[in-house]
């Protein structure tokens, strides 16, 4: 079952409605499918294509451009270790070597139990806290080898379940625009004048 489930279809429709053009929802909907399935499946891409009225090739073309989308089964926890300059200067590559040894897999692969996928990553915008890593895009700062081991042990023991949702979940909460407050998205070609506050102020001047 890798098409979006009913609940997520409803969510998808809410997301699509926020944009003046449906295709703008492409990336958010592929994220949604990854949240549901843990990775991006062909069936999900087809479903997203249907929802926003584009071809599956367009969804595929866009989705593969972005690194967060994974097209094969991925661990519940995706550990990204930064290797860009500031982290490299502070031992990021040594941390990666240690991580490979600890997990028993090379970067780019998943542990045998399917729990953890290890990856190289580029700059994570926490350069003063080098070396850094992210678990499902949640940072850990100034990570020592011993702390890495502890992190893995905690993940395996389920101690971080409350803080770190499974791979694919971008945020534990989402924006919901209340219907009674929403202005609503209008296709740009249907807008034919300045917004109200601009018009009225100009007339008043």
């Amino acid at each position: 079952m890798s098409r979006l489930n009913d609940q997520n279809v409803a969510l998808a429709k809410e997301i699509i409605a926020r944009y003046p053009k449906k295709k703008s929802a492409l990336i958010p909907l592929v994220h949604l499918s990854q949240q549901q399935n843990g990775y991006v499946t062909e069936a999900a891409m087809k479903h997203v294509a249907e929802l926003i009225d584009v071809t599956p090739a367009e969804v595929y073309g866009t989705a593969t451009f972005y690194e967060m989308f994974r097209f094969e089964p991925t661990g519940k926890y995706l550990i990204n270790i930064c290797g860009t300059m500031s982290c490299a200067l502070m031992g990021g590559h040594d941390l990666m070597h240690h991580a490979e040894h600890k997990l028993g897999v090379k970067a780019g692969s998943t542990t045998d139990d399917g729990l953890i996928t290890l990856q190289h990553a580029e700059c994570q915008a926490a350069c003063t806290e080098a070396p850094t890593l992210q678990v499902n895009y949640r940072h850990r700062f100034r990570v020592t080898p011993a702390e890495f081991d502890e992190l893995v042990d905690d993940l395996r023991a389920g101690k971080l379940d409350g803080e770190i949702p499974p791979h694919g979940t971008l945020g534990r909460n989402r924006q919901h625009i209340p219907a009674d407050r929403a202005v609503g998205a209008v296709p740009p070609e249907q807008v034919d004048g300045a917004p109200a506050w601009v018009t009225i102020k100009e007339e008043g001047s």
């Binding site: 003046p20 053009k21 295709k23 703008s24 990336i27 958010p28 926003i52 584009v54 073309g61 866009t62 989705a63 451009f65 972005y66 690194e67 967060m68 989308f69 990204n80 860009t84 300059m85 500031s86 490299a88 200067l89 502070m90 590559h93 990553a121 580029e122 700059c123 915008a125 926490a126 350069c127 003063t128 806290e129 080098a130 895009y137 949640r138 850990r140 700062f141 990570v143 702390e147 890495f148 803080e163 971008l170 945020g171 534990r172 924006q175 919901h176 209340p178 407050r181 929403a182 202005v183 998205a185 740009p188 034919d192 917004p195 109200a196 506050w197 601009v198 009225i200 102020k201 001047s205």
Partner: protein, 473 residues
């Protein structure tokens, strides 16, 4: 190791000096991201003040403040807003929260620690420039920022700050949180727009695609950086004079700078713009407090990974755009990466060459092919398998990306004069040149290190940075 949730509020952020604070004033509170704290500290007062003025008056105030864009190019925001063509509607605001320049982080802190300040800034911009919908594009890898901004948006809607008839006026705008999905190049504004349209984030050519004229859905679009917008509540509330009273005439206000690498106290600081120097920042007690373990400064990257490198010779240059460019580099995104005398220069350069080769969108041939080619050569050199021909080839490939004189810093040691920034380029955006900049700086300022490993085949004892492969290449 510290988890993200366990910041000593804002891990990496320091405000222990006696410095003016415009955008980081709430970072000291544990609940800085909540609407309650925001309300308790003057939140949304700037918006109310703005709504009491005519949109053009607010725009004028921003123009007078000379608020410079904080995304890297440093263009005045008020002027940018004025570029929208007359009578073309709708107009959009796109918030660039795709911060990913190596060495840089400030937007992430602003989104995680003070999301309402950003939201208020967005609203003021929309009001002043007649922008009828706002898209807040957050880099995909920032899960905590997503959660906090989403919550802040929900709260702001609930309080009537966003949506229909804001605070009972005829000002109505939606702010839509948009998730990125991991692509550095999307930080470029036209690529950001492509991405927001559901496309591959490949930059568009300017001309004709100046976003202010032809932007999102082909309509006039203002793209502003998170930090830029976060300054607006202050300017709206206190007026442009209060803002320009800080900093210098050409670079007013403050800006957030991240200092990372081999310093005693790496951190993010809100500094006074224009007058603070790199020496202040790297050696000052209220900033990074000098080199770690008392070592010597070897070189530093002054403005994010795409900036040409500076030497200790350039420490007294202040944070002022023109001074930096005449010295051969740029201030860019507000990130200083510092290397001490233990640093293996070719290996350090490799990390950046790899970054930009990896992040090429693939649109322009010089970047797509040239970046990866440079990466392969530098990787081989660092591994000890380089040749003299490789060094010549690097410069030739570089010439194909950046024809003509390449900016670099002056070096008293080598008797080199500075070549001013910027470079010419054969690509649409700066990603391609950025793959060449670090290796060009490294080879120009430290030729002996390349000679040592390429010509003399010296065995190195320490390699603090090592090569990892570009994905898939």
């Amino acid at each position: 190791m510290s988890a993200q949730g366990s910041y000593p509020w804002a891990a990496g952020y320091y405000d222990d000096g006696d410095r003016p604070q415009i955008v980081t004033s709430r970072f000291k509170y544990e609940d800085s991201h909540t609407i309650e704290r925001y309300h308790a500290t003057g939140g949304y007062e700037g918006l109310k003040k703005a709504l009491s003025m005519r949109p053009e008056e607010v725009h004028d105030e921003v123009r007078k403040s000379t608020l410079l864009g904080r995304g890297g190019a440093g263009f005045p925001a008020g002027v940018k807003w004025g570029f929208t063509p007359q009578g073309v509607w709708p107009r959009y605001l796109v918030v660039n929260g795709d911060e990913s320049e190596p060495g840089t982080y400030k937007d992430r802190l602003l989104m995680e620690l003070d999301p309402h300040q950003l939201i208020e800034g967005c609203l003021i911009a929309c009001y002043a420039a007649g922008l009828s919908q706002c898209f807040l594009y957050i880099r995909g890898e920032m899960a905590v920022a997503h959660e906090r901004v989403a919550k802040a948006l929900d709260d702001a809607y609930a309080h009537g700050y966003i949506g229909r008839n804001i605070l009972g006026t005829d000002f109505s705008v939606d702010i839509v949180l948009h998730w990125g999905a991991g692509a550095y190049v999307v930080g470029e504004e036209t690529a950001l727009i492509e991405s927001l349209e559901g496309e591959r984030g490949m930059p568009r050519l300017k001309p004709p695609y100046f976003p202010a004229a032809i932007g999102l859905y082909g309509k006039p679009t203002i793209v502003n950086n998170v930090e830029t917008l976060s300054n607006l509540p202050f300017i709206a509330l206190n007026g442009s004079a209060a803002y320009t009273a800080i900093g210098t005439e050409t670079s007013p206000g403050t800006r957030m700078i991240a200092v990372s690498g081999h310093v005693e106290r790496p951190g993010v600081f809100e500094i006074v713009n224009g007058s603070t120097t790199f020496r202040d920042l790297i050696y000052g007690d209220e900033f990074s407090q000098g080199m770690r373990e008392g070592r010597e400064l070897k070189t530093f990257v002054p403005g994010g990974g795409s900036a040409p490198w500076f030497l200790p010779d350039q420490l007294d240059i202040p944070f002022e755009g023109r001074e930096a460019s005449s010295a051969g580099s740029m201030l860019g995104s507000g990130a200083v990466m510092v290397m001490d005398d233990t640093t293996d220069i070719p290996a350090a350069a490799l990390t950046l060459v790899k970054f930009y080769a990896h992040e090429s969108c693939g649109k322009c041939v010089p970047c797509r092919e040239g970046g990866t080619w440079l990466y392969r050569i530098v990787e081989r050199i660092v591994a000890g398998n380089g040749t003299d021909a490789d060094l010549a080839t690097i410069l030739e490939v570089g010439e194909s990306i950046c024809p003509g004189d390449m900016p670099h810093a002056a070096s008293a040691r080598l008797g080199l004069d500075a070549v001013p920034f910027p470079y010419k380029m054969t690509t649409i955006c700066f990603v391609g040149p950025s793959a060449y900049v670090p290796i060009h700086s490294a080879m120009t300022l430290f030729p002996e290190e390349f000679e040592a490993i390429v010509t003399k085949r010296e065995v190195r004892t320490t390699i603090p940075v090592t090569a990892v492969p570009v994905g898939g290449a």
